[in-house]
């Protein structure tokens, strides 16, 4: 058993080679170097930001690499949160993320269910049209989408300066539909047939059978929906002009010139807390799904 596991697990270096000093020592040393490099490159900039967030401006400017030469200034965090309005923007970001998440989840699950399980005749055409949008760079949409938000169909008034302007377009994610449809495709058909013979209609089948079986993929879609909403910049900057409802990413570049450096850096630090926390909690999901996401978004 353990032997089989080893065989499955093996990479370039064999167990035999690993036992030889000539291989193990240089390789271990390289790995140590790599670890140090990853700490320096991946972690230190964020730790530095954490340090700078609670360091007085003059210390950060004069001795950026010194660690608290003249003590710690916790006030920065409170000033950023209250006076500069990071708190409001933090809540705005949450709203943007939650609404985008909900719209994406509704569109992806109902659409994926229709395409994968219900399969109406026009399903193939719709599927092709949805997947086709993956090949259109998002910049092509920029201007017409902006004009659509200015004059949306049926609504009658502009959606500029409302969260809907960010929430609704977020739902048009072909990547989500693709992920969810693929997942539904792999659910056992027999269970659907059994539910149908037991008299479950389309809605019942969706709500009580398909959705409960799909928690893993819903988790992946959810985490990426929230993270992407948190990351988004250009689109919210265009459609959320009102300072009172702007999320962090839109507001941060604009407050830079009018804010004291230490408070500004505290604001930056606060705004990475949630994404980093989400990442650390849902590591597995990111590291398994992250490759996928990046590969398709491109």
């Amino acid at each position: 058993m353990s032997k089989a596991d080893q065989a499955l697990d093996r990479g370039v270096v064999s167990a035999y080679e690993w036992k030889r000093k000539r291989v193990r020592l240089p390789l271990s040393f390289t790995h140590l170097l790599l670890l140090i490099l990853l700490v320096v490159v991946g972690l230190l900039p964020l730790l530095w930001l954490g340090k700078a967030a609670i360091t007085p401006t003059q210390d950060t400017l004069r001795m950026p690499m010194a660690i608290f030469p003249h003590g710690v200034d916790w006030e920065n965090l409170a000033t950023a949160w209250n006076t500069v309005g990071i708190g409001t923007q933090f809540v705005n970001t949450l709203w943007v993320a939650l609404g985008s998440w909900l719209v994406q989840l509704v569109v992806a699950t109902t659409g994926g269910y229709a395409l994968s399980v219900l399969r109406p005749r026009y399903g193939r055409l719709v599927n092709a049209l949805v997947l086709g949008t993956l090949f259109v760079p998002s910049v092509v949409l920029l201007v017409p989408l902006y004009l659509t938000i200015l004059h949306p169909p049926l609504v009658g008034h502009s959606l500029i300066n409302t969260f809907w302007a960010v929430w609704l377009p977020a739902g048009a994610s072909a990547f989500n539909v693709l992920l969810v449809t693929r997942f539904f495709d792999n659910l056992p058909r027999e269970i659907f047939e059994a539910a149908r013979t037991d008299g479950a209609g389309s809605f019942r089948l969706f709500w009580s059978v398909v959705l409960p079986m799909s928690k893993p993929i819903l988790g992946v879609v959810s985490v990426f929906a929230i993270i992407n909403a948190w990351k988004d910049y250009l689109w919210p900057m265009l459609v959320l002009k009102d300072k009172a409802i702007q999320p962090l990413s839109v507001r941060l570049p604009e407050i830079q010139s009018q804010t004291q450096l230490d408070v500004y850096l505290a604001g930056l630090a606060i705004s990475i807390l949630i994404p980093v926390a989400l990442f650390l909690v849902f590591q597995g999901m990111f590291l398994r799904g992250g490759g996928l996401d990046g590969a398709v978004k491109g």
């Binding site: 093996r10 670890l35 109406p120 092509v140 990351k231 570049p253």
Partner: protein
Amino acid sequence: MTALDTRVPDQALGTLPRPVRRVAVARSPRTWLKGGGLGNLVFMLPMLLIFGVFSWSPIVQAIVMSFQKTNLVTPATFVGFDNFVHVFQDPQFLTAVVNTGYFAVLALLFGYPIPLVVAVLMSEVRRLKGLFSVLAYLPVVVPPVVAVLLWKFFYDASPTGVFNTILDWVGIAPQPWIQSAATAMPSLVLEATWAGAGGTIIIYLAALSAVAPELYDAAEMDGAGIWKKIWHVTLPQLRGILLVTFILQIIGTAQVFLEPFLFTDGGPVNSTLSVLLLIYRYAFQSSLGGNYGAATALSVLLALVLAILSLVYFRMTRSWSDN
């Protein structure tokens, strides 16, 4: 066995009406309704509406608008290829294309080999593998705006800037970073590579773990050492994913916007003006009001070039792998 036997007729019965229903679907709206057509449509509807309004229709509109003059006051008029001519005659167009190409090439030089080397090394880690992955991926979860703003501060050109302080430790003179036309673009690429490498590393790690162990076993039978195994087994096995990440990186860097916009706003002296930044300026920063025609024309042009590039690329690489 018996349980299976009793189920078969049930299933057959359950599936039997299907073909009948299918044939009837096209014939009358009533049978369509009875067959669950309405229910199907209800589930389709959110996707049809959202994609229709916010994806399909804007794509069509973009193509139409690239041949129109629009100022939102008077009705749009068709102007043929005027918008494209306008773009081609704009001296900034060539600057933007050259800069974007420069960004893409630098990004390939910095960003293409590093994730591969790191991933191959990481896949051989025996302990704390999770820690390695987390550290490598950490920059990817930092919101891009925050990453750029943070690096903008790191790039402070004064001798007490963060990076200049570090350079001073090793005896290198302070650099102007994003403040000089010569060093601005490499500085942008450096940050973009930092922000993006983790994602590629994770893709390669997944591909590496999918390499069949038997291939390594077989190579060892033939007496291959570690380097030979990397060269003759690992890299050929990764070829597919390497080809894909290559073109995806080019497609991604051709659309670079955030870094030039937030770091330098295209400066100094337009040295970091990218194609997307030019599109943005046409549409939203023009002093004469939005030149939506030029903006959509340039974006459609970019999409076409990228589509053709990918097509040619995949045809070319397919014929390579045939040989």
